[in-house]
């Protein structure tokens, strides 16, 4: 799944470790989500959305268009 995590992180000048600490995950997890190798669970997606103060769909894009 595509996402804007790296862009949002860059806007705040956070490293992967900075974001990982805020989300309480490993750097591998942040990297895997950013590169689309791992889709986060719903709880983690909500946590990310709350951290960036954005709706989930403005961070993650599943490629489906709204009807």
């Amino acid at each position: 799944m595509k996402n804007r995590l790296k862009v949002l992180r860059a806007e705040r000048n956070w490293s992967q470790a900075d974001l990982a600490v805020r989300l309480d995950v490993s750097r591998q997890a942040v990297n895997a989500v950013e590169t689309g190798k791992y889709d986060p669970s719903l709880p983690l997606a909500f946590k990310i959305a709350r951290l960036f103060d954005l709706p989930i769909e403005e961070i993650f894009d599943d490629g489906e268009r709204r009807g």
């Binding site: 790296k6 992180r9 860059a10 000048n13 956070w14 490293s15 992967q16 470790a17 990982a20 600490v21 309480d24 995950v25 490993s26 750097r27 591998q28 997890a29 942040v30 990297n31 895997a32 989500v33 190798k37 791992y38 986060p40 669970s41 983690l44």
Partner: protein
Amino acid sequence: MMESAVDKDETGRGFAALAGRIALIALAAIGVLGGAGLIVGFLTAFSEDPNGTLSMRDIAILAGAALFVLGCLYGGWRAIRSMRAADVAAGVPTPRENRNRLVRVVAGLLGAVIGLVLVLHHDTPASSPLALLDGPLSPVIAIVLALLVGVLTPALSLYWYLRVVDEQEAAAYDKGALVAIHAFWVGAPVWWLLWRGGLVAAPDGVLIYVATAVIATVIWFWAKYR
């Protein structure tokens, strides 16, 4: 152009390089146990033979085994140092990663204790590392090892899985376990059926166990670090 902190991939390691280092550490550990087993077995056989004397050939074998063990220790130590250097260069580990590392160190020490007990107490001369896996043991040692493997290991694994790893690693571990259990469910009966048909040797429980564990570990590693 210099890489900024934001652009840096802080997983800190190429998948192939990390896999190579871990394979080297695993081979070194097997080598140390095998070599130490050979030395212990050789010396035990020698001490039990009242007329035994060490010939030059025996001394050469022992010296070769000792050098082999030292070489394995050195290779393993270099690989561990190289992994640590790559990790430090990649940035600061998160608190969760540090807890994960601590559990892995404890698991490694537990494995080393089990390996050492096997090397020092198994009843057959250690002609090969595989003899450590299926040679006879004294009842007391068997009970001690069974408690270590049957109680301590699952307790540590459960703590690691439920309290230490994040969801990405848990998913990687689940994937490894799923592939491994299916390899077991398919591989074991296929071997059993072929054996019943007289086509292959009898199924080897130790080999099946090791293969299942290796498959789970390789898939988990690939899913976590790729």
